[in-house]
């Protein structure tokens, strides 16, 4: 279900820029905003930029579509493991379903996620696509 309009703005920046939470006590990172570290319970959690590249940890091609995506065709969903070990749930785009593999290098892509209605607010967020040029630091 798509969230109602005002709520989207609270999470927009994190979704636009793939910001994460990092515990300054134990180093645990996660994708959503958190006030308390899920690993150690510390309240010293900072907002950090998560890496924009990673590999596919697991994937599936979704054929039974949810109501919000009834107009879409089948799409690839994955858990991506970022370079620092943080995992995120994301769609994989610019990739044929038969080409996606566990371990495949991917990079961040900024895309439309959905729309409230024909003329409604458009939601943006991250998706990942196959990494074409590997970074050489």
């Amino acid at each position: 279900m798509m969230p109602k309009s005002p709520r989207i703005w609270q999470l927009a920046e994190r979704r636009y820029r793939l910001l994460g939470s990092r515990c300054t006590a134990c180093g645990k990172t996660s994708v959503g905003p958190r006030n308390v570290c899920p690993a150690c319970g510390s309240e010293d959690v900072e907002t950090v930029q998560l890496p924009s590249t990673g590999t596919v940890y697991s994937y599936t091609v979704v054929h039974a579509l949810p109501a919000e995506r009834e107009r879409y065709g089948p799409y690839i969903m994955a858990i991506v493991e970022l370079e620092d070990g943080t995992r995120v749930t994301s769609e994989i785009v610019d990739c044929e379903p038969e080409d996606v593999k566990i371990g495949m290098p991917v990079e961040l892509a900024f895309r439309v996620i959905g729309q409230e209605s024909e003329e409604g607010i458009i939601y943006y967020g991250y998706k990942f696509r196959p990494l074409v040029f590997r970074k050489t630091n």
Partner: protein
């Protein structure tokens, strides 16, 4: 804490019940449980009811007093518990503690869901609310897709095969064909499962539990009162409940359901038994891969050997640990909020020796295991024909 016992059970036919409303379904199950317990409705002191999402499915919230009203339980306290697919298992757990504590002597516990009024895509969207709405379902993850992600990792890490997943469906359909209350009373083959349409690969339609209407209810009382009502009380020997991260991506290894491991270890300890002592189990086979992982995480077999356990027939009726003689969520049907209670109904019938053509001979100890979402919630209960 006092010992508690189940003294009455009731359940509607599961399936597409277009002629029945949510309240009708629960009243039917509740009345049957009262009759089975030889009890008048005035003796019930409280109602605990599991329901996942009546608001989304039929536009009704606040269902506990509604159901109490239509059951004519008058002014008795009525509680609704929501833990996604584990709603009525969690309601049962609270009810156990309420009776064990001495707060109430006799309570009704049950669950209900009326799902078939919405379209399949709408149902998929409602299920997705059982996961993290902001960081999973917003991005397009559905509940079958989440279990597909788990299945693919299990294939890679342990060599589990799609054929082994299909065997879970074959077994549960075979059992369901012997259950007159099951939604699906027909058998399937491995070939038919693997050629059914893909829901979210590698999961096919016949790997997934269906959309179902139905209700189940039980009467629970203190052990000392039980024999006043029945010659065949079924005692609660132990229970365990645990939680896990809401999002699958926040777990170190998605092929292990941490809440299942923790809840089951608590339950075994409380009951004073080991996994091998379980004679019959009703497990949460919302997807075939789930049942295979549950064998492992409940300690029925080694980690990674769940696929072999189904392949070797160890969980068939007559096998080492029969699992889902009712047909499970797959064939009995999965009215989300009612499934936990329906598992308890089946185990009580099994331990009483009243399960007909699907009876596990001589079952003394039974287990129910129910989980919500991607097992962010898990509740395990252990039952016995004799007190602890």
């Amino acid at each position: 804490m006092r010992d508690v016992a189940v003294i009455g059970v009731g359940m509607t036919k599961f399936g597409e019940r277009w002629d029945k409303q949510l309240r009708d379904l629960f009243v039917e199950a509740g009345n049957e449980a009262l009759k089975d317990a030889n009890m008048g409705r005035d003796e019930v002191q409280a109602l605990f009811v599991g329901n996942f999402s009546a608001g989304s499915f039929v536009g009704q919230e606040h269902v506990a007093p509604l159901l109490s009203d239509y059951l004519s339980l008058k002014s008795k306290p009525a509680f609704r518990v929501e833990s996604a697919c584990a709603s009525s298992a969690m309601a049962f757990n609270l009810a156990c503690m309420a009776v064990a504590s001495g707060t109430y002597d006799i309570v009704m516990v049950g669950g209900v869901e009326k799902m078939t009024d919405v379209s399949a895509p709408e149902a998929t969207s409602v299920y997705a609310k059982a996961m993290d709405a902001e960081w999973e379902s917003f991005f397009g993850l559905t509940l079958p897709a989440a279990f597909a992600l788990i299945a693919r990792r299990h294939f890679v890490q342990y060599g589990t095969k799609p054929e082994q997943l299909a065997m879970v469906s074959v077994k549960n359909h075979r059992n369901g064909s012997k259950n007159p209350l099951a939604q699906f009373q027909f058998e399937v083959t491995v070939e038919r499962v693997l050629s059914s349409p893909i829901v979210s690969d590698p999961l096919h339609v016949l790997d997934c539990s269906p959309v179902t209407d139905g209700a189940a209810a039980v009467i629970l009382c203190s052990a000392e009162l039980a024999r006043k009502y029945t010659d065949t009380p079924v005692y609660v020997l132990g229970f365990g409940v645990a939680s896990d991260s809401m999002a699958l991506h926040d777990r170190p290894d998605i092929t292990t359901l941490g809440a299942v491991v923790k809840a089951s270890r608590q339950a075994y300890r409380m009951a004073g038994i080991e996994p091998k002592d379980v004679d019959v189990a009703e497990l949460h086979d919302s997807f075939t891969i789930a049942e295979i992982i549950l064998y492992e995480d409940l300690g029925f077999c080694e980690k990674g050997k769940g696929g072999m356990m189904i392949q070797e027939g160890e969980t068939e009726i007559g096998g080492r640990i029969p699992v889902n003689p009712s047909g499970g969520l797959k064939a009995r049907g999965h009215p989300v909020g009612a499934s936990g209670a329906a598992q308890i109904v089946e185990i009580v019938k099994q331990l009483r020796g009243e399960a007909g053509r699907r009876q596990v001979p001589g079952a003394e100890i039974g287990m129910t295991q129910s989980m919500g979402g991607t097992a962010s919630t898990c509740a395990v209960h252990i039952f016995g024909r004799r007190k602890r």
